[in-house]
Amino acid sequence: MTARNRELLNLFVVGLLTACGFASVYLASQDIPEFSTTSLSYAGFFLALFLAAHLVVRYALPLADPYLLPIAGLLTATGLTMIYRIEPGQAFRQGVWVVGGVALFAAVILLLRDHRRLDPLKYTCGVAAIALLALPALPIIGHTVNGARLWIQVGPVNLQPGEFAKVLLVVFLAGYLRDNRELLSMGFGRVGIPSPKHFGPLLLIWGVAMLVLFQSNDLGGGLLLFSIFLAMLYIATGRWPYIAVGLVLFAAGSYVLYHLRDHIANRIAIWLDPWQDPYDAGFQLVQSIYAIAGGGLFGQGLGRGVLLSDSGEPYIPFLETDFIYSAITNELGLAGGAAVVLLYLVFAYRGFRIAMLADDGFSKLLAAGLTATLAIQAFIIVGGVTGLIPLTGITLPFVSYGGSSVIANFLLVGLLLIVSDHVNRSADR
């Protein structure tokens, strides 16, 4: 079976699951269950959308990995179903974003064709990434949501430029680290302690991450950016001291900011003991933990969980964005939650596999960086809502409600598939 047929088969499975999900939410929402084809038509439309994406891949990237698109599809479907269950109106808007994401996915594949064409644009990408990160800090267009200044408003649309910045940053780092790999790898002694002057780039990125943290109060975003950088730096150089120094720097910087900014200090305090103030500061996390625990092994059933109060307000604020994982586990239980986590893990395996098969440094670093981005982001938010690590407000890739996040992640998958097709073509030769 060819890779594309495998992908098609996987997508049909995803479509079937989507239909089941929508149907059960629809049935649960009614007092007297009555079957309706409306819910099935949603699933049908969704399947059609991903079949279109499949056709683009089949046409342009016939040898690309057959699992990444179905995984992205299943995660997106899970998110849409949950958002539909929480707030049907938002599901429609999210659907529009998904269409936009798939469109960008197709455009990138059809227009870019070869990721290596990004190599000469690496510095442009780097500058663009920093510009995007700085945008929310601007007056008028920038604004703050839930204490984090991450948003810009363009016309009627709210965008989170940081979501796109992370992809651009990976492109930049892939090119830059490939070029400066030799220099950065030079070191003394058996472990190869790098020369102090080579810490320059590290300090620069650290500075950017700290600025993001300080300016936007976004601990999650800063952690994500810096972790991506460390992961790629390690792959490029293999030098532990970079990682060690980087982690120490990040910890020190966070510690200083901890004392400078209440928002960050609160996040840490809540993580250490959410029950300190269960009805105010710790409310989100406590409710999240209740929701997760309430799911038990197999969940309350899709559409039957205790997520909304009688008046329709979610018990957990930001349920459909930051806390969507809690909602999923409440209704689908440990089994459903574990399935979602395993999807990210399989995505990571497939992504890193592309990196390992690649024969040039840029492709390797790009594939590894893009994969790490998605996996780290998933870990930060799932770890956060389960109380494993301090809770920071970032989206669960593909699943959470949010246009910027969905579109940026489809861009990420598109790039990854381009690399994959290229890698498999070279292997065939």
Binding site: P278, Y290, I292, T329, M356, F379, T386
Partner: protein, 564 residues
């Protein structure tokens, strides 16, 4: 760039991510499989919460507006042991702040099978507030009212007390609990994502209790209790009781019992001292009852006060021989003299003329054997033997106040009726209920104005030169009657040879009575006579009451009478 070395690094990264997601799954499994049950219970307890909104309990005022019972702000501290991470530390903090025993608190907090325990009911508001500020997880607070009795022992037998749940347990607090207590409100609330109320379901507003204004005067009450205490000590008596009644309104100005108790500290008081004996206990009234017999014979027109009888010292009734208190020869006495000299023989002679049926009717007419209907709970109707059960000798007992059990209040009401021109007024303690129109007390004419005047004149004689001279109050004409009766012997039956009740009941000023006072002294030692043990207490109370109520004297105080 060496592909193999790079791939080794990527593989390491894969391992790191596998590990990281593995830890996430372990954490999820811990929450969803292991901790699911306890966390579920916690979640259920916080999403819906039933709250009782305590109704404010009405304040009890005396007739001058002084508070006798008030609801003070207090805070009840409770805990959810399942939420308390470190019971020992919390117990110590609670003990330190509230001043309670940490060991007892610890025992409660350690019981994780419970989701709710009281840490302290109705704790001091200030201390509880400082505990609340420590923001200890698992502790909860809600406002409550704590009943407090600012005057302590004063009027405690009347007011009674309310328990920790703010429900009346004794006295008027019990008798009028429904009025005072109102009804608690109820609310079931659902917390919103920010911990504030989202939905309120099944809301039921609290209806506050009503304030009461009593007829009691705290100053008079205090004085009465003081006099009773001195009297009880003086005669080494078991108890002393007094009723002070306004004959024109039926309002009870004071009603004291000694020994008493402090309503703020009621659990330490024995049930025995908590009784309002003036209402719940009976005694044999002895000679004070003779006015009933006299009323009957005068009212039926059988005799007039000036009719005379020739009376021996003794009289035989059936198998019994009854004699007067003081030995004497056969004398001729007027009806008035029979009462003022308290002649048993005379009264029985009159009663024999009246007959058991007629006498029983009059006893009933004066309200004996029936509750007076006062608001105080646990009132006894007394014991009156119906005429068809009388033995041959009963007509020799009852007319002189033996073989009949009455409450001090019933007796006070009889003298109130005489003082009020023959009209008995329902004795009562509550002058007004907040928000309710005044309902005049029931009035009932018992005897004619003529007879009431005749009786008053006779009773003045008792105080002026009869057995009640100790009851004289300088400047006022006092009418009254002494009473002395042996108590029934609970062990051997019949009557005790040593245990007596000495009493005095009367009113003043005789020409326009304003105050009725009744005093009983239970089991005095040394002497038993009401004229000796109870009359001085009557005098002290009456003198104070007349001055306090600014009742103008009947006669200017003369040098002679003021010299006592």
């Amino acid at each position: 760039m060496s592909a193999r070395r790079v791939n080794r690094r990527v593989r390491l990264l894969v391992a790191v991510f596998t590990l990281a997601f593995g830890v996430v799954l372990v954490r999820a499994g811990w929450l969803q499989a292991v901790q699911s049950g306890p966390l579920d219970r916690l979640a259920a307890s916080q999403q819906r919460e039933a709250i009782t909104i305590p109704a404010h309990r009405g304040t009890i005022y005396d007739r001058t507006g002084v508070e006798l019972a008030i609801g003070e702000r207090a805070i009840t501290v409770y805990a959810n042991p399942q939420q308390i991470m470190n019971p020992r530390a919390v117990a110590l903090a609670v003990g330190r702040t509230l001043g309670t025993d940490p060991a007892a608190v610890l025992e409660q907090l350690s019981d994780r099978s419970k989701g709710f325990v009281y840490v302290a009911r109705k704790a001091d508001a200030v201390k509880a507030e400082s505990l609340r500020r420590q923001e200890i997880v698992g502790l909860g607070f809600y406002p409550e009212e704590r009943r407090s009795y600012p005057l302590g022992t004063v009027a405690s037998e009347i007011v009674g007390y309310a328990g920790v749940d703010n429900r009346g347990l004794a006295g008027l607090e019990l008798g009028l609990d429904k009025l005072l207590g109102g009804s608690d409100g109820k609310k079931t609330i659902v917390r919103d994502p920010f911990g504030h109320r989202l939905d309120t379901v099944d809301a039921e507003d609290a209806a506050d209790g009503r304030d009461l204004r009593l007829t009691i005067d705290n100053t008079l009450q205090r004085q009465v209790e003081r006099v009773l205490e001195a009297t009880r000590e003086r005669w080494n008596a078991k108890a002393a009781t007094a009723v002070v009644l306004d004959p024109k309104t039926g309002g009870i100005l004071a009603m004291g019992v000694e020994p008493g108790f402090d309503a703020n500290d009621f659990p330490k008081a024995s049930r025995d001292v908590q009784r309002n004996r003036a209402v719940t206990d009976t005694y044999e009234p002895g000679s004070t009852f003779k006015v009933v017999t006299l009323s009957a014979v005068l009212e039926t027109g059988m005799v007039t006060p000036t009719d005379t009888y020739t009376l021996p010292y003794e009289i035989r009734v059936s198998d019994r021989v009854i004699h007067d208190a003081v030995p004497r020869g056969t004398e001729t006495m007027s009806v008035a003299e029979i009462l003022s000299q308290s002649s048993n023989v005379g009264v029985i002679t009159l009663a024999l003329g009246l007959g058991r049926e007629k006498l029983s009717e009059w006893i009933d007419r004066f309200g004996f054997g029936h509750e007076t209907g006062i608001e105080y709970p646990g009132e006894t109707p007394g014991i009156v033997v119906p005429p068809e059960q009388w033995s041959g000798s009963t007509i020799g007992n009852v007319p002189i106040g033996h073989g009949i059990a009455v409450t001090p209040l019933q007796m006070a009401r009889v003298y109130g009726a005489i003082a009020n021109g023959g009209v008995a007024i329902q004795p009562h303690l509550v002058e007004r209920v907040e928000g309710k129109g005044a309902v005049g007390p029931a009035r009932k004419r018992v005897i004619s104005t003529r007879v009431s005047k005749q009786l008053t004149a006779m009773l003045r004689g008792v105080v002026e030169d009869g057995s009640g001279v100790e009851a004289q109050v300088p400047g006022y004409f006092v009418a009254g009657k002494t009473g002395t009766a042996a108590k029934p012997d609970p062990v051997y039956g019949g009557y005790s040879k040593t245990a007596y009740v000495g009493s005095f009941v009367g009113f003043a000023p005789a020409r326009n009575p304003r105050v009725v006072v009744l005093v009983t002294v239970d089991e005095p030692r040394g002497t038993i006579w009401g004229g000796t043990v109870a009359a001085p207490a009557f005098r002290d109370i009456m003198r104070f009451a007349l001055q306090y109520l600014q009742v103008p004297p009947d006669v200017p105080e003369e040098a002679g009478s003021a010299a006592e």
